[in-house]
């Protein structure tokens, strides 16, 4: 399998260089650009598999570039930005980006996200649809094999954790109060044991999510309960 080519674009050269080092170290081919126009040109000229794009750039900014790329290409785009507000993230994703990472980012987290996006982009499309397969985004629960996969990678979970994920994935988007989860998974009336559920959920999140503090799938609805997002 040939190496994947990743286009990195930021108006700050040092950031681009640092990312180049990380990505090359992990065996990716790296193209460098410093503004939106270069990105559009390179996407046309070269075989690019993923773009890491800064939002705040002079000239054509990251959001506009994303929109232009999306007009013709389906390649994953990860936005990089110093803007950390929820509204900024939502705007970025609405413009067609696949992920959003805030500066200053953790290099390892960024690499994990790159990997995840590439896996989905290259492999998931070919995955056959089996009955008994629960799926949202890159998260798949195969009830026949009793397996949970994230972006094709099998996640090791305990039986209780599996039952929790199954419950939530059977009802994607629905928020389960802690007591409900306890009653359904443990099959016991809940009484002052809810903390167990919360701790379990936290463990599951650490296994499923790239950044457990900013979960993509298993989300905390604070003061209510938990849900798995529907994509």
């Amino acid at each position: 399998m040939s190496t994947y080519n990743i286009l990195v674009c930021d108006d700050d050269k040092e950031i681009v260089n640092a990312l180049e080092i990380y990505l090359k170290h992990d065996g990716y081919g790296v193209f460098k650009a410093y503004n939106g126009k270069e990105v559009l040109k390179m996407v046309e000229e070269s075989n690019i598999h993923l773009i890491i794009l800064d939002i705040m750039m002079p000239g054509l900014d990251g959001l506009m570039t994303t929109m232009k790329v999306r007009e013709t290409y389906n390649i994953p785009i990860i936005l990089l930005s110093a803007k950390s507000q929820d509204t900024d993230k939502i705007a970025g994703l609405n413009f067609g980006a696949d992920d959003y990472v805030t500066k200053p980012y953790n290099p390892l987290e960024l690499l994990a996200r790159v990997k995840s996006q590439l896996r989905r982009y290259t492999q998931l499309g070919s995955m056959e649809q089996k009955p008994g397969l629960l799926k949202t985004g890159g998260l798949v629960l195969d009830d026949e094999l009793k397996e949970i996969r994230v972006d094709g990678e099998i996640i090791k979970v305990t039986p209780t954790e599996y039952r929790i994920v199954k419950l939530l994935m059977e009802n994607l988007g629905r928020v389960f109060p802690i007591s409900d989860i306890y009653e359904r998974v443990w099959n016991e009336p809940s009484f002052s044991v809810e903390n167990t559920v919360a701790v379990h959920i936290r463990r599951i999140r650490e296994k499923l999510e790239i950044n457990p503090k900013d979960p993509k799938y298993l989300k905390v609805v604070w003061g209510v309960g938990y849900k798995i997002e529907k994509y």
Binding site: A18, L19, P104, Y105, P177, W222, G223
Partner: protein
């Protein structure tokens, strides 16, 4: 020394002493006057024989002598029945034994019978001879009833027009052929009242200069004391402001009236007594006058203070009343709402109503009654419109207090009386709107500045973090290099946290944050939050105990913001708690609010007040060596307030307690 003496000069004790001196001098003057009063005789006469006491005594003796039985027999008004030798022409003088005077002598002679009556122990001829010598004495009386001739010295009841009075006395001798001689010896001998009175007179005369000196000295002393008091009245030190005394609050005119009343009262008291040589009455008089003196003195000093302050006329009841009346009138005729027109309109309305009513009740009730109804309906309409305007204004104020700055006052529906007021209100509204807009703009600029700065900080920070990480990956051999890289790594992480917190703090404080309200169960929130920290708590050996909830405590708030609050508070608890201690989280309902309380024991001694904790950049350890920006509590507080709640801190020794309160969902609905 100089200042000291000045201070003494203005001290209260010295003033009180001056008042006492005035009282003493008054006592002296009173004593003198009292003395002069009871001894006025001595003052008025040149010598004893001219004194009233002497003259009176002389008169009394003369009267007694004339009215004595013997003299009366001589005049013939009383017929002699018993004695026999009266009016017989005998040369033997008839000795009058009725008088017990030693120094008083008299001789009465009937011209016709040549009978003589005398009190001298002499025969008739010698008595007559002696009588001829009487005018040489300092006091004598000669009266001839026959030719109606009077001559006298130091005798009161005689006049130069040859009459003797009173009539009763004259009538005793009149028309009788009698000559009457009387005199008092110049050299008084002991044994009768003339002598006794003279002794008193002499005594008083001797004391007179003494009392004169006392009077003058007392007057001088009193005057000096008074001048001193008048000069220092109202001052506590040299050239100080004039301080009004307690009594000065009394209006001056009322003060005058009160003093006059007091004076009248004491006068009426004094009318009860007359000047006598009576000690009790004298003491009583002195006491009353002393009180009068004090009242008068305080009054005069009060007036002096008022004059000094220039408030003699201002500080009067009359002045105040006039001023208040003037102000009231000015208000009536100047203020916009109470135009004179309105006042006159009211008067006219009442007057017209009364007249029409009178006509309607007295004569034909038809037309005036109709007019009455029309006028009153008109007035009712006007009043209701005015009241409507007032309620409109009240509604406007209410809306403004609620924060609805755009609520417009309907000036068209205002009654004419409120037009100007409505305009003012519109102006006020514009002013408030502008001020609010200005404040919002300023706050926005500040937040924008901070968010721009933190964005600009983040880009270089990204490079720093990345290259430090890359450096680490180079696996340097040198231990020192490794240590330095470790420091760089932790400090850049710290910097990242600071920048994030700064941004969040500024957004939370400025309220520039979207709040997505929903139902938040504090029990679930606590459990979820604690689960997030379960590993970190295990690392630090902390035991986080959530009090079991029986029922959910659902508050009206934003779950995400609530988590950020809990995140900040729990992260603080992890950082600053005593190792291997317990953290308690209690959830309860308190009236209309849901309350989360987080309690932990601080590792460092808490020598900071709970207020200081909430200020930005204050941390539990003064050395600032631990991680953390010091913004956590400030952010948590701002976030709680953003959701309509509160965050309070209590520090009790090393026990640190945070209380977050939010309105219950049921109440907020």
């Amino acid at each position: 020394m100089d200042t000291k003496s000045r201070n003494i000069k203005y001290s209260f004790l010295v003033k009180a002493f001056a008042v006492f001196l005035i009282w003493v001098s008054f006592a002296g003057m009173f004593a003198s006057v009292y003395f002069f009063g009871i001894n006025s005789d001595v003052l008025m006469s040149e010598n004893y024989f001219q004194s009233h006491a002497f003259i009176a005594e002389f008169n009394r003796c003369v009267e007694q002598a004339i009215s004595s039985a013997d003299v009366q027999k001589l005049t013939g008004y009383v017929s002699g029945t018993g004695t026999g030798n009266t009016g017989t022409g005998s040369t033997e003088a008839i000795a009058d034994s009725s008088s017990v005077t030693v120094n008083f002598k008299y001789v009465a002679r009937n011209i016709e019978t040549n009978a003589i009556v005398t009190n001298m122990e002499l025969d008739a001829d010698s008595a007559w001879k002696a009588a001829k010598e009487f005018p040489k004495n300092k006091s004598y009386l000669f009266y001839s009833a026959a030719d109606n001739k009077v001559a006298s010295k130091n005798f009161l009841y005689a006049d130069n027009d040859n009459t003797l009075y009173p009539d009763s006395l004259e009538s005793l001798l009149k028309n009788a052929q009698v000559e009457f001689f009387a005199a008092v010896d110049d050299q008084l001998k002991q044994g009768d009242s003339f002598y006794d009175i003279q002794q008193e007179y002499k005594g008083a005369q001797a004391q007179l200069p003494l009392f004169l000196v006392i009077a003058i000295a007392a007057f001088a002393l009193g005057l000096c004391s008074f001048i001193y008091l008048a000069s220092v009245a109202g001052r506590n030190e040299k050239n100080s402001e004039i301080m009004p005394a307690l009594i000065d609050w009394f209006y001056n005119d009322l003060h005058i009236v009160a003093v006059i009343l007091a004076a009248t009262l004491s006068l009426s008291l004094l009318q009860e007594i007359t000047l006598h040589d009576d000690l009790t009455e004298g003491i009583f008089l002195f006491a009353v006058l002393s009180i009068d003196l004090l009242i008068g003195l305080s009054f005069i000093l009060s007036m002096i203070r008022n004059i000094k302050r220039g408030t003699l006329f201002q500080h009067t009841m009359i002045y105040r009343l006039f001023k208040a009346a003037a102000r009231f009138l000015a208000q009536c005729f100047q203020a916009r709402t109470f135009r004179p027109a309105v006042l006159f309109l009211l008067l006219a309305y009442g007057g017209v109503n009364a007249i029409l009513f009178a006509i309607a009740t007295n004569g034909n009730p038809g037309f005036p009654l109709l007019l009455l109804v029309i006028i009153n309906l008109g007035a009712l309409y006007y009043v209701s419109k005015t009241l409507g305007s007032i309620s409109g204004i009240m509604r406007w104020v209410n809306e403004m207090t609620k924060g609805n700055l755009d609520y417009a006052l309907d000036t068209g529906a205002m009654s004419p009386a409120f037009h100007a007021f409505a305009k003012d209100i519109a102006g006020l509204q514009t002013g408030i709107k502008e001020a609010v807009a200005e404040a919002v703009k300023g706050e926005k600029l500040k937040t924008e500045l901070i968010s721009n700065v933190s964005h600009d900080l983040k880009t270089p920070l990204t490079s720093i973090i990345n290259y430090v990480d890359l450096l680490k990956k180079e696996n340097p051999e040198n231990d020192t290099v490794k240590e330095y890289i470790g420091i760089l790594e932790s400090k850049s992480a710290r910097l990242k946290q600071l920048v994030d917190d700064l941004l969040e703090a500024s957004k939370a404080a400025s309220g520039d944050m979207i709040v997505n309200y929903g139902r938040v169960d504090l029990c679930s929130l606590a459990q979820q939050s604690v689960a997030e920290y379960s590993e970190k708590a295990a690392e630090t050996g902390l035991d986080v105990r959530v009090k079991v909830c029986e029922n959910p405590v659902v508050v009206h708030g934003d779950g995400t913001l609530m988590w950020r609050i809990m995140d900040n508070l729990l992260s603080n608890a992890m950082k600053y708690s005593q190792k291997n201690s317990r953290v308690y989280i209690d959830i309860e309902r308190n009236g209309l609010s849901g309350v989360i309380t987080i309690k932990n024991v601080s590792e460092a001694a808490l020598d900071i007040s709970s207020d200081q904790f909430l200020e930005r950049f204050v941390r539990g350890d003064s050395s600032r060596s631990t991680e953390g920006s010091g913004l956590g509590l400030s952010i948590a507080k701002s976030l709680a307030e953003l959701q309509g709640g509160t965050l309070a801190l209590k520090v009790d020794g090393d026990l640190f307690k945070v209380i977050v309160t939010l309105p219950l969902e049921a109440i907020a609905q």
